[in-house]
Amino acid sequence: MAYDTETARPDFARMTPEDLDTGPVPCAPYISPDWFELERERVFGRAWLCMGRVEQLPEPNSFITREVEICKALVLITRDKDDNIRAFHNVCSHRLNMLVTESSGKRSIFNCRYHNWTYRNNGDCTGIPDIKNFFGVDKKQCGLTPIHCDVWQGFIFINLQAEPEVTLREFLGPYAEAYEGFPYPFADNAYVIESNLNVNWKQIADAFAESYHVAAIHPATIGNTFASKSLNPFGRPLSGHAYGAHRVMCTFGNPDYVPPEDAHVERLAYSGMDTGNVLGGSDSKKLQDLANHPAANPTKRPNWGADVSWIFPNFNIDYGPGGFWTHEFWPTSVNSTRWILRVHVPEATSVRERIMQEHLACRFAEVMLEDVTNTQAQQRAMESGAKTHMHLQDGEMLIRHSNAVIRKWVESGSAREALDLD
Protein backbone atom coordinates (compact mmCIF):
# COMPACT_ATOMS: atom_id res chain seq x y z
CA MET A 1 0.00 0.00 0.00
CA ALA A 2 1.69 3.19 -1.18
CA TYR A 3 1.93 6.27 1.00
CA ASP A 4 3.34 9.65 0.27
CA THR A 5 6.29 11.23 2.02
CA GLU A 6 4.19 14.11 3.31
CA THR A 7 2.24 11.86 5.67
CA ALA A 8 5.31 9.84 6.49
CA ARG A 9 6.09 12.57 8.98
CA PRO A 10 3.55 12.92 11.81
CA ASP A 11 3.22 16.58 11.03
CA PHE A 12 -0.48 16.84 10.36
CA ALA A 13 -2.41 20.11 10.56
CA ARG A 14 -3.67 21.26 13.96
CA MET A 15 -6.99 19.62 14.86
CA THR A 16 -8.15 21.91 17.63
CA PRO A 17 -10.45 24.62 16.23
CA GLU A 18 -9.19 28.15 16.74
CA ASP A 19 -12.25 29.12 18.77
CA LEU A 20 -11.65 26.45 21.44
CA ASP A 21 -9.73 27.48 24.53
CA THR A 22 -6.52 25.43 24.73
CA GLY A 23 -5.97 25.82 28.46
CA PRO A 24 -6.26 23.06 31.06
CA VAL A 25 -9.70 21.46 31.36
CA PRO A 26 -11.34 21.14 34.78
CA CYS A 27 -12.13 17.66 36.06
CA ALA A 28 -15.10 18.67 38.24
CA PRO A 29 -17.67 17.50 35.65
CA TYR A 30 -16.27 13.97 35.95
CA ILE A 31 -16.57 13.67 39.74
CA SER A 32 -19.04 16.23 41.05
CA PRO A 33 -22.61 15.20 41.98
CA ASP A 34 -23.69 18.79 41.30
CA TRP A 35 -22.42 18.50 37.74
CA PHE A 36 -24.28 15.22 37.37
CA GLU A 37 -27.52 16.99 38.28
CA LEU A 38 -26.80 19.76 35.79
CA GLU A 39 -26.13 17.21 33.07
CA ARG A 40 -29.38 15.45 33.93
CA GLU A 41 -31.38 18.62 33.40
CA ARG A 42 -29.40 20.53 30.80
CA VAL A 43 -27.76 17.85 28.68
CA PHE A 44 -29.67 14.56 28.76
CA GLY A 45 -32.94 16.32 29.49
CA ARG A 46 -32.67 18.54 26.40
CA ALA A 47 -30.53 16.83 23.78
CA TRP A 48 -31.60 14.32 21.15
CA LEU A 49 -30.45 10.89 22.37
CA CYS A 50 -29.77 7.91 20.13
CA MET A 51 -31.69 4.77 21.05
CA GLY A 52 -30.48 2.48 18.27
CA ARG A 53 -31.18 1.71 14.64
CA VAL A 54 -34.34 0.88 12.76
CA GLU A 55 -33.00 -2.63 12.02
CA GLN A 56 -33.45 -3.40 15.71
CA LEU A 57 -37.18 -3.30 14.92
CA PRO A 58 -36.93 -5.66 11.98
CA GLU A 59 -40.63 -6.31 11.30
CA PRO A 60 -43.98 -4.52 11.49
CA ASN A 61 -45.14 -4.51 15.14
CA SER A 62 -41.60 -4.96 16.45
CA PHE A 63 -40.75 -3.19 19.69
CA ILE A 64 -37.73 -2.54 21.89
CA THR A 65 -37.37 -1.06 25.36
CA ARG A 66 -34.59 1.22 26.48
CA GLU A 67 -33.63 3.27 29.56
CA VAL A 68 -32.17 6.69 30.10
CA GLU A 69 -31.18 6.16 33.71
CA ILE A 70 -29.94 9.67 34.42
CA CYS A 71 -33.42 10.98 33.58
CA LYS A 72 -35.11 7.90 35.06
CA ALA A 73 -36.84 7.45 31.73
CA LEU A 74 -38.18 4.06 30.69
CA VAL A 75 -38.61 4.10 26.93
CA LEU A 76 -40.75 1.91 24.68
CA ILE A 77 -40.08 2.19 20.95
CA THR A 78 -42.56 0.65 18.53
CA ARG A 79 -42.88 0.06 14.84
CA ASP A 80 -46.47 -0.28 13.72
CA LYS A 81 -47.87 -2.22 10.79
CA ASP A 82 -47.34 0.81 8.56
CA ASP A 83 -43.69 1.13 9.62
CA ASN A 84 -44.19 4.23 11.77
CA ILE A 85 -41.56 4.43 14.51
CA ARG A 86 -42.82 5.91 17.77
CA ALA A 87 -41.53 6.28 21.30
CA PHE A 88 -43.45 6.32 24.56
CA HIS A 89 -42.82 6.34 28.23
CA ASN A 90 -43.08 2.69 29.19
CA VAL A 91 -45.59 3.48 31.95
CA CYS A 92 -49.14 2.26 32.40
CA SER A 93 -51.75 4.98 32.93
CA HIS A 94 -53.50 3.13 35.74
CA ARG A 95 -51.12 2.75 38.68
CA LEU A 96 -48.02 3.72 36.67
CA ASN A 97 -46.52 0.26 36.48
CA MET A 98 -43.78 -0.52 33.98
CA LEU A 99 -45.80 -1.70 30.99
CA VAL A 100 -43.42 -3.77 28.86
CA THR A 101 -40.80 -5.85 30.65
CA GLU A 102 -39.11 -7.56 27.70
CA SER A 103 -36.19 -5.91 25.93
CA SER A 104 -37.59 -6.65 22.48
CA GLY A 105 -40.27 -8.56 20.67
CA LYS A 106 -43.19 -8.33 18.31
CA ARG A 107 -46.64 -7.26 19.43
CA SER A 108 -49.33 -4.83 18.31
CA ILE A 109 -51.07 -4.79 21.70
CA PHE A 110 -49.31 -4.54 25.05
CA ASN A 111 -50.98 -5.55 28.28
CA CYS A 112 -49.94 -4.47 31.71
CA ARG A 113 -49.39 -7.55 33.88
CA TYR A 114 -50.78 -5.86 36.95
CA HIS A 115 -54.44 -5.33 36.01
CA ASN A 116 -54.45 -6.14 32.28
CA TRP A 117 -54.93 -2.66 30.90
CA THR A 118 -54.09 -2.81 27.19
CA TYR A 119 -52.47 -0.42 24.71
CA ARG A 120 -51.97 -0.47 20.97
CA ASN A 121 -48.48 0.16 19.68
CA ASN A 122 -49.57 3.61 18.53
CA GLY A 123 -50.06 4.52 22.18
CA ASP A 124 -53.86 4.29 22.35
CA CYS A 125 -55.35 2.72 25.43
CA THR A 126 -57.50 -0.11 24.08
CA GLY A 127 -58.82 -1.77 27.22
CA ILE A 128 -59.58 -0.99 30.84
CA PRO A 129 -61.01 -4.03 32.66
CA ASP A 130 -63.99 -3.19 34.90
CA ILE A 131 -64.12 0.32 33.44
CA LYS A 132 -67.60 0.85 34.87
CA ASN A 133 -66.19 0.75 38.37
CA PHE A 134 -64.04 3.81 37.75
CA PHE A 135 -65.19 7.35 38.36
CA GLY A 136 -65.50 8.65 34.81
CA VAL A 137 -62.17 7.51 33.40
CA ASP A 138 -61.86 8.19 29.66
CA LYS A 139 -59.82 5.70 27.62
CA LYS A 140 -58.94 8.47 25.17
CA GLN A 141 -57.16 10.29 28.00
CA CYS A 142 -55.34 7.14 29.09
CA GLY A 143 -53.01 6.52 26.17
CA LEU A 144 -49.27 6.07 26.66
CA THR A 145 -47.37 9.31 27.14
CA PRO A 146 -45.46 9.89 23.93
CA ILE A 147 -41.77 10.78 23.73
CA HIS A 148 -40.64 12.84 20.76
CA CYS A 149 -38.92 10.55 18.34
CA ASP A 150 -37.26 11.02 14.97
CA VAL A 151 -35.07 8.97 12.68
CA TRP A 152 -31.97 10.14 10.84
CA GLN A 153 -30.39 7.77 8.31
CA GLY A 154 -31.77 4.80 10.20
CA PHE A 155 -30.69 5.98 13.66
CA ILE A 156 -33.58 6.44 16.07
CA PHE A 157 -33.36 9.46 18.37
CA ILE A 158 -35.61 10.62 21.18
CA ASN A 159 -35.94 13.92 22.99
CA LEU A 160 -37.23 13.94 26.56
CA GLN A 161 -38.50 17.52 26.51
CA ALA A 162 -42.29 17.87 26.46
CA GLU A 163 -41.73 20.09 23.41
CA PRO A 164 -38.24 19.81 21.95
CA GLU A 165 -36.62 23.20 21.56
CA VAL A 166 -34.80 22.03 18.43
CA THR A 167 -35.56 19.48 15.75
CA LEU A 168 -33.31 16.47 15.32
CA ARG A 169 -32.02 17.96 12.10
CA GLU A 170 -31.16 21.24 13.82
CA PHE A 171 -29.47 19.30 16.61
CA LEU A 172 -27.29 17.30 14.24
CA GLY A 173 -26.64 20.42 12.18
CA PRO A 174 -23.33 20.38 10.30
CA TYR A 175 -22.81 16.70 11.22
CA ALA A 176 -25.95 15.71 9.31
CA GLU A 177 -24.88 17.83 6.35
CA ALA A 178 -21.44 16.27 6.25
CA TYR A 179 -22.73 12.70 6.64
CA GLU A 180 -25.65 12.96 4.24
CA GLY A 181 -25.98 9.64 2.39
CA PHE A 182 -23.33 7.89 4.49
CA PRO A 183 -23.74 4.12 4.11
CA TYR A 184 -24.02 1.83 7.14
CA PRO A 185 -22.96 -1.63 5.94
CA PHE A 186 -24.39 -4.72 7.67
CA ALA A 187 -26.70 -2.52 9.72
CA ASP A 188 -28.94 -5.51 10.44
CA ASN A 189 -26.25 -7.65 12.08
CA ALA A 190 -23.99 -6.87 15.01
CA TYR A 191 -22.15 -8.53 17.80
CA VAL A 192 -22.49 -6.77 21.12
CA ILE A 193 -20.17 -6.18 24.07
CA GLU A 194 -21.65 -4.64 27.21
CA SER A 195 -20.60 -3.72 30.68
CA ASN A 196 -21.43 -1.65 33.70
CA LEU A 197 -18.35 0.35 34.60
CA ASN A 198 -17.36 2.28 37.70
CA VAL A 199 -16.51 5.44 35.82
CA ASN A 200 -18.19 8.69 34.87
CA TRP A 201 -19.72 8.38 31.40
CA LYS A 202 -17.34 10.99 30.02
CA GLN A 203 -14.31 9.11 31.30
CA ILE A 204 -15.07 6.08 29.14
CA ALA A 205 -16.27 8.18 26.20
CA ASP A 206 -12.98 10.07 26.32
CA ALA A 207 -11.02 6.81 26.29
CA PHE A 208 -12.34 6.01 22.82
CA ALA A 209 -11.84 9.53 21.54
CA GLU A 210 -8.09 9.74 21.17
CA SER A 211 -5.33 7.59 19.67
CA TYR A 212 -2.52 9.09 21.74
CA HIS A 213 -2.86 6.17 24.18
CA VAL A 214 -2.54 3.43 21.61
CA ALA A 215 1.20 2.82 21.80
CA ALA A 216 1.08 2.74 25.60
CA ILE A 217 -2.17 0.95 26.48
CA HIS A 218 -2.47 -1.35 23.51
CA PRO A 219 1.07 -2.42 22.67
CA ALA A 220 0.20 -6.02 21.99
CA THR A 221 -3.31 -5.75 20.60
CA ILE A 222 -3.31 -2.78 18.24
CA GLY A 223 -0.13 -0.85 19.02
CA ASN A 224 1.25 -1.63 15.61
CA THR A 225 -1.89 -0.88 13.67
CA PHE A 226 -3.03 2.56 14.78
CA ALA A 227 0.48 3.78 15.45
CA SER A 228 3.81 3.07 13.83
CA LYS A 229 7.21 3.36 15.46
CA SER A 230 8.72 4.75 12.31
CA LEU A 231 5.90 6.75 10.76
CA ASN A 232 3.71 7.93 13.62
CA PRO A 233 5.03 6.83 17.00
CA PHE A 234 2.49 8.74 19.06
CA GLY A 235 -0.51 7.74 17.02
CA ARG A 236 -1.38 11.25 15.94
CA PRO A 237 -4.68 11.50 14.08
CA LEU A 238 -4.66 12.35 10.39
CA SER A 239 -7.21 15.09 11.02
CA GLY A 240 -10.00 16.21 13.35
CA HIS A 241 -13.19 18.18 12.73
CA ALA A 242 -15.85 19.92 14.77
CA TYR A 243 -19.39 19.76 13.37
CA GLY A 244 -21.49 22.01 15.58
CA ALA A 245 -22.02 20.14 18.85
CA HIS A 246 -20.44 17.00 17.37
CA ARG A 247 -16.90 15.99 16.43
CA VAL A 248 -14.84 13.58 14.37
CA MET A 249 -11.30 12.26 14.55
CA CYS A 250 -9.61 10.41 11.68
CA THR A 251 -6.93 8.01 12.86
CA PHE A 252 -3.77 6.80 11.23
CA GLY A 253 -3.54 3.18 10.14
CA ASN A 254 -0.20 1.45 9.82
CA PRO A 255 0.12 0.35 6.20
CA ASP A 256 2.95 -2.03 6.98
CA TYR A 257 1.21 -4.15 9.60
CA VAL A 258 1.38 -7.86 9.07
CA PRO A 259 0.85 -10.41 11.80
CA PRO A 260 4.13 -11.44 13.41
CA GLU A 261 5.81 -14.64 12.14
CA ASP A 262 4.77 -16.69 15.13
CA ALA A 263 1.17 -15.42 15.25
CA HIS A 264 0.02 -18.63 13.61
CA VAL A 265 -3.63 -18.38 14.53
CA GLU A 266 -3.86 -14.74 13.55
CA ARG A 267 -2.35 -15.65 10.20
CA LEU A 268 -4.73 -18.59 9.90
CA ALA A 269 -7.71 -16.42 10.70
CA TYR A 270 -6.75 -13.86 8.12
CA SER A 271 -5.63 -16.30 5.46
CA GLY A 272 -6.75 -14.92 2.15
CA MET A 273 -7.92 -11.65 3.68
CA ASP A 274 -6.44 -8.20 3.19
CA THR A 275 -4.31 -7.54 6.27
CA GLY A 276 -3.70 -3.84 5.65
CA ASN A 277 -5.25 -3.05 9.01
CA VAL A 278 -6.58 -5.15 11.85
CA LEU A 279 -10.05 -3.78 11.15
CA GLY A 280 -9.53 -4.28 7.38
CA GLY A 281 -12.16 -4.31 4.73
CA SER A 282 -13.47 -6.65 2.08
CA ASP A 283 -14.61 -6.11 -1.40
CA SER A 284 -18.20 -5.04 -1.25
CA LYS A 285 -19.82 -1.96 -2.72
CA LYS A 286 -21.17 -0.49 0.47
CA LEU A 287 -17.72 -0.58 2.02
CA GLN A 288 -16.36 1.14 -1.08
CA ASP A 289 -19.05 3.78 -0.80
CA LEU A 290 -18.17 4.29 2.84
CA ALA A 291 -14.45 4.76 2.16
CA ASN A 292 -15.27 7.06 -0.76
CA HIS A 293 -17.80 9.18 1.13
CA PRO A 294 -16.53 12.74 1.57
CA ALA A 295 -17.00 12.60 5.35
CA ALA A 296 -14.85 9.48 5.80
CA ASN A 297 -11.25 10.60 6.29
CA PRO A 298 -12.20 13.92 4.71
CA THR A 299 -8.60 14.92 3.92
CA LYS A 300 -8.38 11.57 2.07
CA ARG A 301 -4.92 11.03 3.40
CA PRO A 302 -3.49 7.58 2.80
CA ASN A 303 -2.73 5.39 5.84
CA TRP A 304 -6.28 5.79 7.09
CA GLY A 305 -7.17 3.65 10.12
CA ALA A 306 -10.64 4.52 11.31
CA ASP A 307 -12.81 7.53 12.15
CA VAL A 308 -14.36 8.23 15.51
CA SER A 309 -17.49 10.34 15.08
CA TRP A 310 -18.82 11.38 18.46
CA ILE A 311 -22.38 12.67 18.45
CA PHE A 312 -23.11 14.84 21.47
CA PRO A 313 -23.57 13.89 24.14
CA ASN A 314 -22.90 10.17 24.43
CA PHE A 315 -23.05 8.28 21.12
CA ASN A 316 -20.32 7.24 18.70
CA ILE A 317 -20.69 6.12 15.13
CA ASP A 318 -17.17 4.90 14.39
CA TYR A 319 -16.12 3.27 11.14
CA GLY A 320 -13.22 2.02 9.11
CA PRO A 321 -12.64 0.20 5.86
CA GLY A 322 -14.39 -2.89 7.27
CA GLY A 323 -17.61 -1.23 8.38
CA PHE A 324 -19.01 0.65 11.35
CA TRP A 325 -19.55 0.17 15.05
CA THR A 326 -21.39 2.24 17.66
CA HIS A 327 -20.75 3.09 21.30
CA GLU A 328 -23.36 4.24 23.80
CA PHE A 329 -22.35 5.62 27.21
CA TRP A 330 -25.32 5.87 29.58
CA PRO A 331 -24.72 7.58 32.91
CA THR A 332 -26.13 5.63 35.85
CA SER A 333 -24.47 7.75 38.55
CA VAL A 334 -21.68 10.29 38.74
CA ASN A 335 -19.19 7.42 38.69
CA SER A 336 -20.98 4.59 36.96
CA THR A 337 -21.91 4.02 33.33
CA ARG A 338 -23.70 1.43 31.28
CA TRP A 339 -21.73 0.96 28.10
CA ILE A 340 -22.80 -0.89 24.93
CA LEU A 341 -20.65 -1.50 21.90
CA ARG A 342 -22.24 -2.89 18.73
CA VAL A 343 -19.94 -3.98 15.94
CA HIS A 344 -21.67 -4.43 12.61
CA VAL A 345 -20.38 -7.31 10.54
CA PRO A 346 -21.80 -9.39 7.71
CA GLU A 347 -23.25 -12.74 8.61
CA ALA A 348 -20.48 -15.25 7.95
CA THR A 349 -20.90 -17.37 4.85
CA SER A 350 -17.97 -19.72 5.41
CA VAL A 351 -16.15 -21.45 8.24
CA ARG A 352 -12.98 -19.50 7.54
CA GLU A 353 -14.83 -16.20 7.56
CA ARG A 354 -16.49 -17.13 10.88
CA ILE A 355 -13.08 -17.87 12.39
CA MET A 356 -11.82 -14.51 11.16
CA GLN A 357 -14.81 -12.87 12.82
CA GLU A 358 -14.01 -14.65 16.08
CA HIS A 359 -10.49 -13.25 15.90
CA LEU A 360 -11.82 -9.78 15.18
CA ALA A 361 -14.30 -10.04 18.06
CA CYS A 362 -11.64 -11.38 20.44
CA ARG A 363 -9.17 -8.68 19.58
CA PHE A 364 -11.82 -5.98 19.83
CA ALA A 365 -12.89 -7.32 23.24
CA GLU A 366 -9.28 -7.32 24.47
CA VAL A 367 -8.77 -3.75 23.27
CA MET A 368 -11.95 -2.68 25.05
CA LEU A 369 -10.75 -4.44 28.19
CA GLU A 370 -7.47 -2.54 28.07
CA ASP A 371 -9.29 0.76 27.70
CA VAL A 372 -11.82 0.05 30.38
CA THR A 373 -9.37 -1.30 32.96
CA ASN A 374 -7.43 1.88 32.88
CA THR A 375 -10.42 4.22 33.15
CA GLN A 376 -11.62 2.65 36.39
CA ALA A 377 -8.26 3.39 38.01
CA GLN A 378 -8.31 6.85 36.47
CA GLN A 379 -11.74 7.63 37.95
CA ARG A 380 -10.50 6.81 41.45
CA ALA A 381 -7.39 8.88 40.96
CA MET A 382 -9.47 11.81 39.73
CA GLU A 383 -11.82 11.51 42.72
CA SER A 384 -8.88 11.78 45.11
CA GLY A 385 -8.95 15.53 44.53
CA ALA A 386 -5.18 15.64 44.24
CA LYS A 387 -5.45 17.56 41.00
CA THR A 388 -8.19 19.70 39.51
CA HIS A 389 -7.34 20.05 35.81
CA MET A 390 -6.31 17.94 32.84
CA HIS A 391 -3.80 18.98 30.20
CA LEU A 392 -4.92 17.95 26.73
CA GLN A 393 -2.86 17.88 23.57
CA ASP A 394 -4.02 18.73 20.07
CA GLY A 395 -4.72 15.04 19.34
CA GLU A 396 -7.16 15.03 22.28
CA MET A 397 -9.33 17.65 20.62
CA LEU A 398 -12.46 15.51 20.87
CA ILE A 399 -12.19 15.50 24.65
CA ARG A 400 -11.65 19.24 24.77
CA HIS A 401 -14.58 19.81 22.42
CA SER A 402 -16.88 17.52 24.40
CA ASN A 403 -16.13 19.35 27.63
CA ALA A 404 -16.69 22.73 25.97
CA VAL A 405 -20.04 21.71 24.46
CA ILE A 406 -21.26 20.18 27.73
CA ARG A 407 -20.33 23.37 29.55
CA LYS A 408 -22.17 25.39 26.93
CA TRP A 409 -25.34 23.33 27.30
CA VAL A 410 -25.15 23.57 31.08
CA GLU A 411 -24.74 27.34 30.94
CA SER A 412 -27.30 27.98 28.20
CA GLY A 413 -30.88 28.89 28.92
CA SER A 414 -32.11 26.76 26.03
CA ALA A 415 -31.01 24.16 23.52
CA ARG A 416 -31.33 26.77 20.77
CA GLU A 417 -28.93 29.03 22.61
CA ALA A 418 -26.56 26.11 23.22
CA LEU A 419 -26.51 25.40 19.48
CA ASP A 420 -26.14 29.07 18.48
CA LEU A 421 -29.30 28.75 16.40
CA ASP A 422 -30.92 32.15 16.91
Binding site: S104, V265, V351, R354, C362
Partner: protein, 122 residues
Amino acid sequence: MTDKNILPAGFESLEPFVEYWAGETNDIRWDRRSRASMPDIQAFYDAMLARAEDAIQHLEQFPLGDMPPAEERLFCLTLSLVHASIAVELHEQPRAIDSPFPHGLHVTRGPWPHGGGMGQSA
Protein backbone atom coordinates in the same frame (compact mmCIF):
# COMPACT_ATOMS: atom_id res chain seq x y z
CA MET B 1 -21.61 -39.99 29.09
CA THR B 2 -18.70 -39.76 26.68
CA ASP B 3 -21.10 -39.21 23.74
CA LYS B 4 -21.24 -35.51 24.42
CA ASN B 5 -17.50 -35.13 23.86
CA ILE B 6 -17.25 -37.07 20.63
CA LEU B 7 -15.60 -35.38 17.69
CA PRO B 8 -15.62 -36.42 14.01
CA ALA B 9 -13.44 -39.40 13.04
CA GLY B 10 -9.80 -38.44 12.82
CA PHE B 11 -10.00 -35.83 15.59
CA GLU B 12 -10.20 -38.22 18.56
CA SER B 13 -6.94 -36.88 20.02
CA LEU B 14 -8.69 -33.57 20.71
CA GLU B 15 -11.55 -35.13 22.67
CA PRO B 16 -9.97 -34.53 26.10
CA PHE B 17 -10.18 -30.79 25.37
CA VAL B 18 -13.86 -30.72 24.45
CA GLU B 19 -15.39 -30.41 27.89
CA TYR B 20 -13.46 -27.26 28.80
CA TRP B 21 -12.68 -25.69 25.47
CA ALA B 22 -15.72 -26.32 23.25
CA GLY B 23 -17.74 -23.49 24.76
CA GLU B 24 -20.87 -22.69 22.76
CA THR B 25 -20.76 -18.92 22.90
CA ASN B 26 -18.12 -16.19 22.54
CA ASP B 27 -18.65 -15.16 26.14
CA ILE B 28 -18.14 -18.69 27.48
CA ARG B 29 -15.02 -19.23 25.38
CA TRP B 30 -13.60 -15.89 26.56
CA ASP B 31 -14.32 -16.74 30.16
CA ARG B 32 -12.77 -20.21 29.92
CA ARG B 33 -9.56 -18.90 28.40
CA SER B 34 -9.39 -16.13 31.01
CA ARG B 35 -9.61 -18.63 33.87
CA ALA B 36 -7.17 -21.19 32.54
CA SER B 37 -3.52 -21.48 33.49
CA MET B 38 -0.91 -20.71 30.88
CA PRO B 39 0.30 -24.33 30.69
CA ASP B 40 -3.27 -25.49 30.06
CA ILE B 41 -3.83 -22.79 27.44
CA GLN B 42 -0.55 -23.66 25.74
CA ALA B 43 -1.34 -27.38 25.70
CA PHE B 44 -4.70 -26.77 24.05
CA TYR B 45 -3.23 -24.22 21.66
CA ASP B 46 -0.47 -26.60 20.53
CA ALA B 47 -2.81 -29.55 20.06
CA MET B 48 -5.51 -27.58 18.30
CA LEU B 49 -3.21 -25.54 16.08
CA ALA B 50 -1.69 -28.74 14.73
CA ARG B 51 -5.14 -29.86 13.51
CA ALA B 52 -6.71 -26.47 12.76
CA GLU B 53 -6.31 -26.53 8.99
CA ASP B 54 -7.64 -30.11 8.86
CA ALA B 55 -10.56 -29.10 11.06
CA ILE B 56 -11.47 -26.15 8.85
CA GLN B 57 -11.35 -28.26 5.72
CA HIS B 58 -13.50 -30.93 7.35
CA LEU B 59 -16.07 -28.41 8.59
CA GLU B 60 -16.28 -26.68 5.22
CA GLN B 61 -18.11 -29.74 3.91
CA PHE B 62 -21.14 -28.91 6.08
CA PRO B 63 -23.65 -26.06 5.96
CA LEU B 64 -22.81 -23.23 8.31
CA GLY B 65 -25.13 -23.24 11.30
CA ASP B 66 -26.52 -26.68 10.54
CA MET B 67 -23.84 -29.26 11.25
CA PRO B 68 -24.09 -32.58 13.05
CA PRO B 69 -23.30 -32.41 16.80
CA ALA B 70 -19.76 -33.78 16.46
CA GLU B 71 -18.93 -31.14 13.84
CA GLU B 72 -20.50 -28.35 15.89
CA ARG B 73 -18.27 -29.40 18.77
CA LEU B 74 -15.21 -29.34 16.53
CA PHE B 75 -16.26 -25.90 15.30
CA CYS B 76 -16.53 -24.55 18.87
CA LEU B 77 -13.16 -26.09 19.66
CA THR B 78 -11.62 -24.36 16.64
CA LEU B 79 -13.20 -21.06 17.68
CA SER B 80 -11.64 -21.51 21.12
CA LEU B 81 -8.24 -21.79 19.45
CA VAL B 82 -8.70 -18.13 18.54
CA HIS B 83 -9.25 -17.28 22.21
CA ALA B 84 -6.21 -19.32 23.23
CA SER B 85 -4.15 -17.45 20.65
CA ILE B 86 -4.97 -14.17 22.32
CA ALA B 87 -3.13 -15.47 25.38
CA VAL B 88 -0.31 -17.20 23.53
CA GLU B 89 0.35 -14.84 20.60
CA LEU B 90 -0.73 -11.49 22.02
CA HIS B 91 -0.40 -11.26 25.79
CA GLU B 92 2.01 -14.16 26.40
CA GLN B 93 -0.07 -14.74 29.52
CA PRO B 94 -3.70 -15.73 30.10
CA ARG B 95 -5.12 -12.22 30.35
CA ALA B 96 -4.33 -8.66 29.30
CA ILE B 97 -1.64 -7.12 31.47
CA ASP B 98 -2.99 -5.39 34.59
CA SER B 99 -6.55 -6.34 33.73
CA PRO B 100 -8.86 -7.37 36.58
CA PHE B 101 -10.75 -10.63 36.56
CA PRO B 102 -13.67 -10.92 36.52
CA HIS B 103 -13.80 -7.75 34.49
CA GLY B 104 -17.53 -7.39 34.00
CA LEU B 105 -17.45 -7.17 30.21
CA HIS B 106 -19.67 -9.59 28.36
CA VAL B 107 -20.16 -10.49 24.75
CA THR B 108 -23.92 -10.49 24.99
CA ARG B 109 -24.34 -11.33 21.35
CA GLY B 110 -21.59 -12.92 19.32
CA PRO B 111 -21.16 -13.42 15.58
CA TRP B 112 -23.30 -16.22 14.18
CA PRO B 113 -23.12 -19.17 14.51
CA HIS B 114 -22.02 -20.15 18.00
CA GLY B 115 -21.88 -16.53 19.11
CA GLY B 116 -24.58 -16.59 21.70
CA GLY B 117 -27.30 -14.00 22.09
CA MET B 118 -28.70 -12.50 25.22
CA GLY B 119 -29.40 -8.98 26.41
CA GLN B 120 -30.29 -6.43 23.76
CA SER B 121 -30.82 -7.58 20.19
CA ALA B 122 -28.63 -6.50 17.26
